[in-house]
Symmetry: C2
Subunit: 133 residues, 2 copies
DNA sequence: GAATTTCCTACCAAATCAGTAGGAAATATT
DNA sequence: AATATTTCCTACTGATTTGGTAGGAAATTC
């Protein structure tokens, strides 16, 4: 299940995309507009920056902005940052140690297919398409 | 992410399906065969019975068996028992209170589409198709 | 120098997860 | 009737995750 971490990250991305005018927008502004705790956003959003999805600058009049056009982002790449690769089961998650039962596992192929389906689905939705314009 | 609860439930169903000869199989047997704690299975598996997916009887020579042919089960109906309706986000889960932001939510349609995709995917996989035969 | 903003670390309460413990009730076998 | 086996039921527990808060350092603008 997608956590608030991932949903908040997506909301921030949508917020930035809708208000996009090329200038930096502070988390404080977004937090107020989206009614999310500023302190919590300060913990979540830097991971988007580290992943190269947004760019931010410190200091007065600082804030964040998108790196590229909203049409160029997919929901998949946003969610993968916070949701550990969108793995449906632990053994497919990034950094999982390999399962000793894999050779006899009846379900691994199904989970892999589902992970692909999930990535294809979210990979086909652009950030732009979520915006209210 | 699908928890061990759901994965164990599915493994038990596959085990029952593969060894299906119409007689009851004890959890002890399954626990040993699948290398899962008996005590833990005793907590998980009764929910499958309550949902009408398996039938069990107490007492010596008791145990569980499937109610119908493995071809007649879908993975979806099994997972829905333990995984709260396979909802991708909290607001779509069974028993969730309705979201006050729903009217302005940019993403709810996407989550609903994804939930449908998920249910269609797992609904198309039969228990039988997972078995090693 | 003051104000504002990101950045960073540590902390915290509640919930969930994964599992254990102990025994009661039901049933079959002897 | 006694015993063994099995499900059924409730309570407990330790570890991890979730969803935050707190406090302040560093960067930048005015």
């Amino acid at each position: 299940m997608i956590s608030t971490r991932g949903r908040y990250a997506l909301r921030v991305m949508v917020d930035l995309a809708e208000l996009d005018e090329g200038n930096y927008i502070s988390l404080k502004t977004i937090a107020e507009r989206q009614d999310i705790s500023l302190k919590y956003l300060e913990r979540i959003i830097p991971s988007l920056k580290k992943a190269g999805l947004i760019e931010g600058i410190q200091g007065k009049n600082g804030g964040y902005r998108l790196c590229k056009n909203p049409k160029k982002y997919t929901v998949g790449e946003i969610l993968r940052v916070t949701e550990n690769d969108l793995a449906p089961v632990a053994c497919l998650a990034k950094g999982a140690e390999k399962c000793p039962r894999k050779s006899q596992c009846r379900t691994i192929k199904m989970w892999e297919d589902y992970q692909k389906l999930t990535n294809d689905f979210f990979g086909s939705i652009t950030l732009d398409s979520l915006c209210n314009k």
